[in-house]
Every structure is written in C-alpha cells, then in structure tokens.
C-alpha cells in the first residue's frame, strides 16, 4: 500500500513539473511576442508563475470547496441517507482512514460519484441522487470503495492541483488569443506602421510562434493530464476490490452506470471530469480520437478486469487480470505487489430489485427532497406526504382523507 502511494506521489510530482514547464514556456513566449523583447519574455514568465502560485494557494486552501460547489453538491447529514453514511463509514474502517470523509449529494439523475480534498484527514465524497436511486447496497459499496481508494492513493490532491494548473494554462492562452483577436481588429494598422520596415517580418514570425504555442499548450497539458488519470482509475478499481473483497459489486455498478438512460451530468466540465468514477460525458458521435483524450479507461474493459478476479483480490491478482484483458503491461507498481493472499468474500444471495425508470426518477426526487429538509409523513389512509421545510411546526391536512397532521418543528 505504501509503495503504491509513494509511486503515485512521484508520478504526481513529475506531472506537476512538466505542466509547470509548459506554463512557464507559454508565459515566456507570450511575453516575448507582445513586447518583442526577451526582457518582456521573462516578464511574461514571472506573470505566468505568479498566476500559478496564486491559483495553487487558493486550490490548496479551498480547492475541494470550489469543486464541490461547481458541481452543485450539497452537504448532507446522517438522517438524509443512513445507508450511504453507513457504507462510507464501513469503507473508512476498511481503509483505516484517519477521519470520516464529509458526504455530499448532487441533485442529478445521472449516476456518478467523485472524491476530493487535500489529504485523507479532510476529504469529501460526493454522489449523485441518481446513483443512490439506481444501485443496490453492494454496488454502492463498490463505488464508495473506489472513491475511498482515490483518497488513500492521494489522487484527490493530484487532481485538484493538476486541474488548477490545467485551468491556468487554458486561462493564459485564452486571454492571449482573445487579446490578439481584438487588437488585430482595432489597432493593428497603427502598430505595424510604428514598427518600422525591418522588424515587421520578424514580428510576424514571432506572433505566429506565440499563437501556435498558445493553441498547443493547453492540448499538451490535457494529454499529460489524461495519460495519468487513466492509470489512476485502474488503480482505484484495484483498491476497491481489495477493500470490499467483492469485485462483483463494483463491476455490476459500472455496468448499471454505463447503461443508464439518464442524460449526462449537467454540472461536470472538462477539468473536473477525471474526478468522477465514470466519464460524465456521454460519447455521442465522437471520433476514435477519444481514446487518447479520454480521462477514463473504457468501462467494458474495467468490468472485464474486475470479473476476471476469480481467485483473489490482491494487487497481484488485479495485475494478472489486467494483463489478460488488455494484453498490456501491468498498471500496478511492482513494489506494491507484495506477497499477499486475499480471498474473495462470499456473495450474498440477494433478490435483485429491478425498478422501472419512473420509480427511479421518483426516488431521485425523494432523495433531493430529503437533502432539502422536507418532512416525510405517512398518513393513516396510506398516502405519503412530502412536506416542504417551511411547514415545520404547522398543521397540514391530508388531501385524500382530510386528517390533520402536526408537522414536528425543528
């Protein structure tokens, strides 16, 4: 376990350094192009670095809060969904986390989940209402175990930092390209005339180089980012199988999530996408290029690997199943594959409750009402009343049998 975390930390640092390099290069080229002076280039470099430091400080102090509110996640208490709380606590115990992660629910029918935070002491787990409505207990446990593995592997810090770094590179190149666009509309004639005859040629070349750099830098940063986040998904799957001793739970959850008819997650964007358990963007009419830029490995592959864990769930077993399915080298660092025998948990005989889409959507609605502190009452006539929080302490009449109910106050 420790070897895995160490390898992960090392990879994170390599990626950080490479992205910092891209960012500084971009700053230098833009500064050089705008001022036509190497000193201006260094000035641009300094500005880019300052932007990055400010963003890094902000993201380290409150990056998780920014991500959570950007995805419209609401913090919930135990009463809203006791089962979710219990499952998170079970996984917290299994992974020996130092503290209980904070739990958030996202009001969205698309089933998905993510984890964020700076370190295992202050981590958060967010799930969508659609996920809670769709999955049974074992499946939910698999998903939560996957998220807890991200926390244990320190992926949450990496994603936060890399996301911010990526964000600042995109921001810098956007500002520059927009600025170029507007200045070429307004004041290009004046600038070219004042530049003199000899310098004109060199300026154009410099400008073209800067524009190309501004376009390529974000793409490069994306590719770097995605290359590493795919690996992390496999590792988190391996960790989840190890924590629950029951890979079928996660496999079946992934299967359900990938076949879900609900529209894609509304609050996700390209930077936050790698944090989710499955890619929140549904592929529709996308080209095959998506394999390179995809933040997540193909779900069918992940499911096949998990189902291939028939003998045990140690990292070594996962690595073997991985090679069998993908015919690639292992994703697990060799140092992490210590000799350990970890058997599977016995499957529980459980009647699968198949639900229709309609009842699923109703459950999503109920979960969100609970998040928003609605009171649920069952009237003697069998009607279920869902009462908004502003009726607390008042009396409500049942619309069917006209019995009066006193709503308990806060």
């Amino acid at each position: 376990m420790w070897e895995l975390i160490r390898a992960n930390k090392r990879n994170s640092i390599i990626l950080m350094v490479m992205m910092a390099f891209v960012l500084m290069l971009l700053g230098f080229v833009i500064g050089f192009a705008v001022t036509r002076n190497p000193v201006g280039g260094f000035f641009g470099l300094v500005i880019a670095t300052i932007i990055w430091i400010v963003l890094a400080l902000v993201s380290l102090s409150s990056g998780d809060q920014i991500f959570l509110s950007a995805s419209r996640a609401v913090p919930v208490t135990h009463d809203v969904h006791p089962q979710l709380f219990n499952i998170v606590e079970e996984m917290k115990i299994a992974a020996a986390l130092p503290a209980m992660p904070k739990i958030y629910i996202i009001n969205d029918p698309a089933p998905n989940a993510f984890a964020t935070g700076r370190n295992p002491e202050s981590a958060s787990v967010a799930v969508t209402a659609g996920l809670l409505a769709r999955l049974n207990r074992d499946e939910l446990q698999g998903v939560i175990a996957h998220e807890i593995s991200h926390i244990v592997h320190r992926d949450i810090l990496f994603v936060t930092l890399a996301g911010i770094m990526l964000g600042s590179i995109v921001l810098l190149s956007q500002v520059f390209l927009r600025g170029m666009f507007y200045s070429s509309l307004g004041g290009s004639r004046r600038r070219y005339s004042s530049g003199g005859q000899g310098g004109g040629q060199a300026q154009v070349v410099l400008m073209v180089v800067a524009i190309i750099a501004a376009i390529l830098a974000p793409i490069m940063a994306y590719l770097l980012y995605f290359a590493l986040s795919q690996r992390r998904e496999y590792l988190a799957d391996a960790g989840a199988a190890r924590l629950t001793r029951y890979p079928e739970g996660l496999a079946s959850a992934l299967e359900k999530i990938s076949s879900d008819p609900a529209p894609q997650l509304a609050s996700a964007n390209k930077v936050t996408a790698p944090m989710y358990i499955v890619n929140p963007f549904k592929k529709k009419g996308q080209m095959k290029l998506s394999n390179l830029t995809s933040t997540h490995p193909p779900i069918s592959e992940r499911i096949r690997i998990l189902r291939g864990l028939t003998h045990g769930v140690s990292y070594k077993d996962y690595s073997n199943a991985f090679t069998e399915v993908t015919h690639k080298k292992s994703v697990i660092p060799a140092a992490a594959m210590t000799k350990e025998e970890i058997g599977l948990r016995q499957a529980e005989a459980k009647a699968e409750k198949e639900q229709r889409l309609q009842s699923q959507m109703r459950q999503v609605g109920d979960i969100m009402r609970k998040v928003n502190q609605f009171v649920f009452l069952t009237c003697a006539c069998g009607l279920k009343l869902k009462i908004p929080p502003n009726y607390k302490g008042k009396t409500v009449e049942c619309p069917r049998c006209h019995t009066n109910h006193n709503i308990p106050g806060k």
Binding site: P82, N86, E90, I93, A94, Q346, A349
Partner: protein, 188 residues
C-alpha cells in the same frame, strides 16, 4: 590539508546519518504499531455498537413477533453474556454466539411481511447489518495492518531496530468459533 577536513567531515557525518536512519525506521515502526492498535480498538467500538443496537431492535420487532419469545430471549441472553465477558477468549466466544442468534433472528423475520415493511424496523435493520459489516471490515483492516507491521519487523534492516527496541510480532485475528468465520449476513 583539505583532505584532512573532508575526512573529519565524513567521520562526523556518518554517525549523524546513521542516527537519522535509525530514527526514521523507528518512527515508521511506531506508526505501524499505532495503526495496529487503532484497528484493534475499531473492532471493540463496533462490537459495543452492536450491543447498543440490540435493545432497539428487540423493542421494534416485539409487537410484530408475539410468538417468537425464544428467539428474543436467545438474543438478549447472548448480548448480556457478550457484555459481561472478561477475557478476549470469552468475549470472542460470546460475540460468536450473539452473531449466531442475530442471524437466526433475521431468518425468522422473513416470515413477518408486516415487520419487514415497517420503516423503523428497516432503519434498525440497516444499522445492524452495517454494524456487522463494520465489524468484518475492522477485522479485515486489523489483519492488513498486522501483516504490514509483521513484515516490517521481520525484514532487513528494520528487523535490527525492531530487535533493539523490542517490537514484538502481533497475532492475526483468527476466528475461533466456527459460526463466526462467516460473519452473519443479514439479507433483505
């Protein structure tokens, strides 16, 4: 002259580095040992939680299951024995019996559809089955930590430091009662 200085620096540096090395391994050992102890206390916490939940469960179910007095008595008795257990062996045995009584109870519940539809009962049942899971995961985590700790104190070079400060091997949590080997699965 400068060779002399380098020689002295090296002579001084080697023990310092050695001490730092020993300190870092010692700290790693202490951390692992604390994790083992912490995992052990987690098991206790969850076992105690199970004891606390049982009166609630019995209270909720009693009204529906008038003809199952024997089952309730078995649970209550097993609980008081588990709570009164003094030694680890005694406690392990009593907890095993309690788990068995509870899984029997959950089987009987299947015959009472009214009870299974009761919201309060469902809530208690979720808490109870989650506590069973937590006990199982706490044991799993304890055994994982013990494995890491034992590996560390047996492997070179940390075995030397472990020997110096007498870090002893820890035992795995082996379940003695046959019934406890299978954590009672509460099915719905």
């Amino acid at each position: 002259m400068s060779g002399m200085i380098i020689f002295i620096v090296i002579i001084l540096l080697v023990p310092v580095l050695l001490v730092l090395f020993v300190i870092s391994i010692y700290n790693a050992l202490v951390r692992l040992r604390n994790q083992v102890d912490n995992a052990w206390s987690q098991i206790d916490v969850q076992l105690k939680r199970r004891h606390d939940l049982i009166p609630n469960l019995v209270e909720t179910a009693k009204g529906y299951m008038k003809h199952e007095r024997g089952t309730f008595e078995a649970i209550t008795q097993a609980r008081s024995q588990a709570m009164g257990a003094k030694t680890v062996a005694e406690s392990s045995k009593a907890e095993g019996a309690l788990g068995e009584a509870l899984s029997k109870f959950m089987l009987v519940v299947e015959n009472y559809p009214d009870l299974k539809a009761n919201q309060n009962f469902l809530a208690v049942q979720e808490e109870l089955s989650s506590t069973e899971n937590k006990i199982a995961f706490a044991r799993q985590s304890y055994n994982d930590q013990v494995l890491a700790f034992n590996n560390k104190i047996q492997m070179f070079p940390s075995n030397i430091i472990a020997g110096m400060f007498s870090f002893g091997k820890r035992d795995f949590f082996e379940i003695e009662v046959e019934a406890e080997r299978e954590v009672p699965k509460v099915s719905f």
